[in-house]
């Protein structure tokens, strides 16, 4: 609490009222705190997954579950390959999003449009990959409440491996999907010169925060499901 006192005396200009103590408008403050609460949603999911895994004796080996990629033959054994492609797609779309935000700061409409299109394409590509993977696993007999995979030690596995996999990647996929929708809206607003008229591209920044958060969550989901 002494922090607050010093802030109000020494750095009087930020905390004294009449302006934002963070030097950002309220929408961005709200977006940050929304993302923080969303981090707790995902955190709860992943921690629940960890808790169930800790309370279970055996667990399937991810390298034996996720070992295929599109157009591969039946017996393909290529663990981590497809998911690393998905991961890179999301990282690159995050990069183009940063570039779009940067272009927005420079009031460069063309740059914003170009990079937003790349970001949207990246998002759709990621969703397509996920759709393929879900479809593939479903064909192998995996779904909510169904788990064809056995534990790494050869014992029967509970269905919680697939339960959590589909729930968490599904929830993340839902975030990606809404992110793509938001990005498309931002693109349309850019094309119709809404931001030019406002004189700033702050909306793009907020959409960018959301999109990076989606990427951030994937970093954790990817690690928890495919690597650990």
């Amino acid at each position: 609490m002494s922090n607050v006192t010093t802030a109000s005396t020494k750095e009087a200009k930020w905390w004294n009222g009449g302006k934002s103590p963070f030097d950002v408008e309220y929408g961005k403050v709200m977006m940050w705190y929304f993302l923080m609460s969303d981090a707790f949603t995902f955190g709860a999911f992943l921690i629940a997954y960890g808790t169930v895994r800790f309370s279970t004796n055996g667990w399937p080996n991810p390298n034996e579950v996720f070992k295929s990629y599109p157009f591969a033959g039946e017996g393909t054994n290529a663990p981590l390959v497809f998911v690393s492609i998905m991961t890179f797609i999301l990282i690159i779309s995050s990069v183009t999003m940063v570039l779009a935000v940067h272009a927005g700061k420079m009031m460069d409409k063309k740059g914003v449009v170009r990079n937003m299109i790349f970001t949207i394409i990246g998002g759709i590509a990621f969703l397509s990959c996920q759709a393929w993977e879900w479809n593939h696993l479903h064909h192998e007999g995996a779904w909510w409440g169904m788990n064809p995979f056995i534990n790494a030690d050869g014992t029967a596995s509970s269905t919680n491996f697939t339960n959590f996999f589909f729930t968490i990647t599904g929830f993340h996929g839902f975030h990606v999907f809404s992110g793509v929708v938001i990005n498309i809206i931002m693109l349309i607003m850019t094309l119709t010169n809404q931001f030019e008229k406002r004189g700033h591209y702050l909306m793009i920044e907020k959409a960018g925060l959301y999109w990076h958060f989606v990427d951030l969550v994937w970093v954790f989901v990817f690690t928890c499901f495919y690597l650990l």
Binding site: E11, W14, P21, F22, D23, V24, V29, W32, M36, G43, I47, A48, G50, T51, F54, S55, T56, N57, G58, W59, N61, N63, E64, E74, G75, P79, L80, S84, F88, I91, S94, V95, M97, V98, L99, V101, H102, E140, G141, P148, F149, I150, N151, A152, D153, G154, T155, A156, E205, L209, H212, F213, D215, L216, V219, F220, T223, Y226, L227, L228
Partner: protein, 148 residues
């Protein structure tokens, strides 16, 4: 926080390039570790690799939040209000996972049905799962390995 200035921190494009490379390298290292782990069977070895992967994951998260989400260039006030509440995750994770572990011990001790379920070996339903499925020799040992 007095040196706050949005146009101050060097060339943004160069920074984006740098961070992109760092993220890619970290991901590649993670993947290499992941491939390496397939062959590692010792419990300590797997644990060490998993620990390294978690650290790399946190490093990636740091770069995304700090640079892509621009948090590093915000005022310290904002950074603190974002970062400090996230410390709650420490106890959140510790308590949940340790209680999960305790629940497993409880079930193994007092729930014979659960214990039996997790020691009976099964044949995998399809051929191409079966060959990997039975390669582990000591089920109890492997169960210990997998719990982490």
């Amino acid at each position: 926080m007095s040196n706050h200035d949005t146009h101050e921190h060097g060339d943004p494009i160069a920074e984006i390039k740098k961070v992109t490379i760092i993220l890619s390298v970290l991901t590649i290292v993670e993947l290499i570790l992941g491939f390496w782990m397939i062959g590692v069977t010792s419990e300590g070895g797997r644990l060490a690799i998993k620990g390294t992967i978690v650290i790399l994951m946190l490093a990636k998260a740091f770069y995304i939040v700090a640079y892509f989400m621009h948090l590093k260039h915000e005022l310290k006030n904002l950074i603190m209000t974002i970062v400090v509440p996230l410390a709650l995750f420490i106890w959140f994770i510790t308590a949940f996972l340790s209680d999960g572990n305790s629940f497993r011990n409880l079930r193994n001790t007092y729930d014979p049905h659960f214990k039996a379920q997790s020691t009976i070996k099964v044949e995998a339903k399809e051929g191409h799962h079966g060959e990997e499925g039975t390669k582990e020799a000591a089920p109890a040992k492997a169960a210990e390995t997998e719990k982490k």
